[in-house]
Amino acid sequence: MDPIFTFSDFSFGYLKHELLFHDLELKVNSNSVTLIQGDNGSGKTTLCNLMSGLLTRHKGQFLLENHNMDKLSKKDISEKVVLLKQNILGNIVAATPEEDLIIWQEKFRRKCSEDDNEKRMKAFQLYNMEEFLLKPVWELSHGQIKRITLAALLLNSKKFWILDEPFSGLDSKLISILENTIKDRKNKNFGTLIVSHRSEFHTDFIDEIYRIENQGILKV
């Protein structure tokens, strides 16, 4: 098993004298499903932001596939991992679901091919989004917005997924679709990291569970 993330002797704090993590040790496997739990404010979102390169300036060792995280460019990181932010609107940049996914594909650099269009439609179909594809985002419900972000994940199937509270606000049908997607990925050797404050959970597809406690992280 190859770790995708390796933390060793790792410390981080927003303020100089107040560490959120201290001497953290953790290995996250690149091809299995990992769950990280923690109370509100324990630092789960912070950890996700660190792993996706949104936060920098840590202390200690922090590797992404044997590369030092500080040495990697934002682009390098974004080619390896994709983050679903907890703040659901923070995942969306465009005015409509259709436009948002097109930006994911075109990246302001190229035009979508036929292949891209097909892929996008498939993602929309899986989450039943046809009827609100062209509606403005600010008129959609929370669950509908979340479905945009889940559909966007499907366009990044080859990257490692970091999901910050992915199940919150989803109905049971959507939860099972997402769970199946994660299981499917695992069978193809693509891993996922799930972050959640809940401890009761459908654990049959989760390989490892960790808990953030006392500025560190413990295996459950």
């Binding site: 303020l15 974004s78 990246k107 600010w138």
Partner: protein, 246 residues
């Protein structure tokens, strides 16, 4: 000093910015900058906020520097200090360049000071000045809106980073397109939020009664009164000097 009334601070801020605009004098701009800094340091104590201000200044430093350089290069009157082909640095250019950038710096500092004051304080201050509530509410909302807009915009930039769209790597001509693409949804979202705010205001009976009561009062201390008085006298004196000089 932390207990200075917001009204006093507002008066000082208005006076400082208007003096800074009125006077084309390097010494006065320096004094005003110093005074604004003093105001900032005496008003805000938390290290976290200072850190944030430092960050803000650093990111705007380039802009100030550009203003300085443009001013220095494009003023052609005064004594020549240094010359190279069509480039020319004159005493007057240097003078105006410094004045313009200091003026800009003062505005940034003042904005930083005002944006960090809680919204309710503004409502109280405006009420004490007998502004109609509708107007003070509007002003306070706008002052409050800027930081919210700022965080939303930052969040969109993060979303781009996650997608591997890095602004610095994009061709120069593409960048305005990207910014436009971001700006419209952020604005539209903010406006749609304001719509809900209007509804919730109506539900609470906004403007139903003429007089609004407040839970807290802002009392002027003796120090506030003294400072307000001295500042006003000082301001009038300086303007008088200016008029006499003309």
């Amino acid at each position: 000093m932390n207990r200075l009334n917001l009204r006093t601070i507002l008066i000082l801020v208005i006076l400082v910015t208007s003096l800074s605009v009125i006077y084309q004098n390097l010494r006065i701009q320096l004094i005003l900058t110093g005074f604004t800094l003093f105001l900032l340091f005496s008003f805000r104590i938390s290290k976290h906020k200072l850190h944030r201000l430092g960050h803000r200044l650093l990111s705007l430093f380039k802009l100030v520097l550009t203003i300085l350089i443009l001013q220095i290069l494009f003023r052609r009157s005064g004594e020549i200090i240094w010359e190279y082909s069509f480039l020319m640095v004159t005493t007057e250019g240097l003078n105006y360049g410094l004045i313009a950038s200091l003026r800009f710096l003062i505005i940034i500092l003042v904005a930083g000071l005002l944006f960090d004051i809680p919204y309710y304080d503004y409502l109280l201050a405006f009420r004490s000045w007998k502004f109609p509530f509708e107007i003070s509410f509007l002003v306070a909302t706008i002052i409050h809106f800027v930081p919210i807009f700022n965080t939303q915009f930052k969040s969109s930039m993060e979303a781009l980073q996650i997608r591997g769209i890095i602004m610095q790597n994009l061709p120069l001509l593409k960048r305005p397109v990207v910014y436009l693409n971001l700006l419209l949804p952020v604005l539209a979202r903010a406006i749609s939020e304001i719509k809900f705010r209007a509804i919730s205001l109506e539900l609470r009976g906004f403007r139903l009664y003429k007089d609004k009561t407040y839970l807290h009062e802002q009392k002027l201390s003796r120090l506030d009164l003294i400072i307000q008085f001295i500042a006003l006298i000082f301001f009038l004196l300086l303007n008088l000097i200016k008029i006499i000089q003309l």
